[in-house]
């Protein structure tokens, strides 16, 4: 059984008098340990699909099963519990809580789990070390660069040991060098921690670090060919 199974999912919503259908009977499977990139033009529905899989949006029809749980039928409360236990989310705009330090931002998902303060501290320290920000733990988001903020965002996404990490344009707001650092970090999360990753991006080069590339066109998914430079790119950053 695949880790993620998207079965005949349709998403539609009203925009004024018009009905928009960003996803139309989409099917997708992601295996455990995979790193999948999802590409497509702006507004094609790739972030919508990512949000549906992450359980922060609702399907209009179809079903999504992640790690054996059919999340389409869960109540808002149960879905929240499920996200806390299974999902790590990396936002494009980092979305760190400005009044909390880097340490406290990373600690947030752990506050929802039954865990002692000592265990929380250990996990946060490991996560910050993994993203290379141990020395910035007491800094507030305003005291960090964009790249550092995104690394804190990655640490927050992985700290609870999620089943699946989803990243929505994680390098969309970053310069080339920082983009490379974040992509490297995501690849290490996948390689070294074995966490399954689904990344939405419109950047073909960024998508190249994934093992598998998918393109969303006109509301349906198309398996994209793995470009030759992609393997080379993976090897290069490895």
């Amino acid at each position: 059984m695949s880790l993620v199974e998207v079965v005949c999912v349709t998403k539609q919503y009203a925009s004024g008098e018009e009905t928009i259908i960003p996803l139309n009977e989409v099917d997708l499977r992601i295996e455990k340990g995979e790193f999948v990139s999802l590409m497509g033009s702006s507004g094609c529905g790739k972030s919508t699909l990512l949000n549906l899989i992450a359980g922060i949006d609702r399907v209009t029809s179809g079903q999504i099963v992640v790690a054996g749980t059919n999340i389409t039928g869960l109540s808002r409360g149960k879905l929240a519990d499920w996200r806390a236990a299974n999902i790590g989310y990396v936002f494009q705009t980092h979305n760190l809580i400005p009044v909390l330090t880097a340490y406290e931002n990373v600690e947030l998902p752990l506050l929802l789990l039954k865990m002692s303060a000592a265990a929380r501290r250990k996990r946060v320290e490991i996560a910050l070390e993994a993203v290379g920000l141990t020395d910035r733990a007491r800094h507030y988001p305003r005291q960090l660069s964009g790249g550092q903020e995104q690394r804190v965002g990655v640490a927050r996404a992985i700290v609870a040991g999620p089943t699946l990490v989803v990243a929505d344009e994680p390098t969309g707001n970053l310069d080339d060098d920082t983009t490379q650092q974040i992509l490297d970090l995501l690849r290490r999360v996948n390689d070294e921690l074995g966490i399954t990753l689904l990344m939405v991006t419109h950047d073909a080069q960024a998508a190249g670090i994934a093992q598998r590339r998918i393109r969303l066109e006109h509301g349906t998914l198309v398996e994209a060919a793995q470009p030759e430079h992609s393997q080379a790119h993976r090897q290069k950053i490895a």
Partner: protein, 381 residues
């Protein structure tokens, strides 16, 4: 939820100006609420306490200001023989101001043995012998002494009455802390007058099973044919009648208390709405990492309650401290209402401020909890 308290505190600290303004506004409103409640409690205690119901005051008929009531002192003899009267205290009252005032001085002259036997007072300065031995000696209530800054041994003059302060007392009945007790015959002779043989009022302590209304009617009936007709009422009724104008006013100012609560509700709700609006995206992030909508609601409620409670604690704390230290009171026609800070006042104030905080957070809390995560994350504030 406890693990999220630092997050709430940091959020409030992050918007210091807004937090301070809300807490200050709440504190001011609760300070006023404290005052209003203290006045109401003072009036209530004066008119509704057991003592007020079981004690009769015999006054001259159709007289209101204590200066104008002149009862023959020997009425006490007949009264003390009445089967339903346990004790009779003749009292001469003098006040420097019959109208409503925040700083009226009220003298009550009564025999020393009656003073000792009927008033629950304890001396905090001076001594009882000093009072008994001096003709012009006076025992000054703690609140008057604090207001006027007088000490034992000093002479104190007002309205042509000069007394030597033999002691300062604390009374269990708060209003009595605003009185000055003298010897009865001294006050009868004060200001160059000779009112010996007349008193302002006679205070009767009823026997255990006596019916106050029946006894009062009997007394008035008996003295109707005498040299001076009487009007006898329970002490509570007497004080209510005497303070009728003030009581009406105090009855009205309870609306001011409600207005204060409304003000706090509006203030805390407005701040919480702003806070929720500013933090819509944060709430989206919190829900994304797994916070339940109910928890988001609780976070908002906790924040509004915290604001309101801290403001309430400040306002009530300052209000109670001020009332306790200032000994404020309002008097009219010789009857005093003490603005008394009580434990009940503190408890009521805290419950009100906490409840208002809870109430103020409900609408913004529901709004925060019901906003779909996607919409919250897209919020640009």
């Amino acid at each position: 939820m406890i693990t999220f308290i630092p997050y709430i505190l940091k959020g409030l600290w992050g918007h210091r100006a807004r937090t301070m303004l809300t807490v200050s506004g709440t504190a001011v409103a609760l300070f006023v609420f404290c005052f209003v409640t203290a006045v109401q409690q003072g009036l209530y205690q004066l008119t509704e306490s057991e003592d007020a119901q079981r004690t009769l005051v015999v006054f001259q008929e159709n007289r209101f200001c204590p200066q104008s009531s002149k009862l023959p002192e020997d009425y006490a003899r007949w009264l003390s023989n009445h089967k339903d009267v346990a004790d009779v205290v003749p009292i001469k009252v003098f006040t420097n101001n019959c109208r409503a005032s925040l700083d009226s001085i009220v003298f009550q002259g009564l025999p020393a043995d009656k003073l000792k036997g009927t008033r629950d007072i304890s001396l905090v300065a001076g001594d009882w012998n000093g009072f008994e031995q001096r003709e012009d000696a006076a025992l000054v209530g703690r609140d008057v002494a604090a207001r006027r800054g007088v000490i034992v041994g000093e002479k104190f003059s007002i309205g042509g009455v000069t007394v030597t302060i033999a002691g300062i007392f604390h009374a269990t009945v708060p209003a009595e802390n605003n009185l000055i007790y003298t010897h009865l015959d001294f006050l009868q002779r004060a200001r160059g007058k000779n009112d010996v043989g007349t008193v302002t009022q006679l205070e009767l302590r009823l026997a255990e099973h006596a019916d106050a209304e029946v006894v009062a009617a009997e007394i008035d009936k008996h003295f109707r044919g005498g040299p001076v007709a009487t009007a006898t009422r329970t002490k509570g009724m007497f004080q209510t009648d005497t303070l009728s104008d003030l009581a009406e006013l105090i009855g009205c100012i309870h609306w001011l208390g409600y207005a204060c609560i409304g003000l706090v509700l509006a203030l805390v709700a407005a701040t919480t709405v702003m806070s929720v609006h500013d933090r819509t995206k944060e709430h989206g992030v919190l829900q994304t990492v797994g916070l339940r909508p109910l928890r988001v609601f609780q976070l908002v409620i906790l924040e509004s309650t915290l604001l309101s409670t801290v403001g309430g604690m400040l306002g009530i704390g300052v209000g109670v401290a001020y009332l306790a230290l200032s000994g404020l009171s309002v008097a009219a026609e010789g009857v005093t209402i003490a603005f008394q800070p009580t434990l009940e006042l503190i408890v009521v104030g805290m419950v009100v401020s906490t409840a208002v905080g809870l109430l103020a957070g409900i609408a913004p809390g529901l709004q925060a909890a019901r906003t779909p995560i996607i919409d919250a994350l897209r919020h640009t504030g």
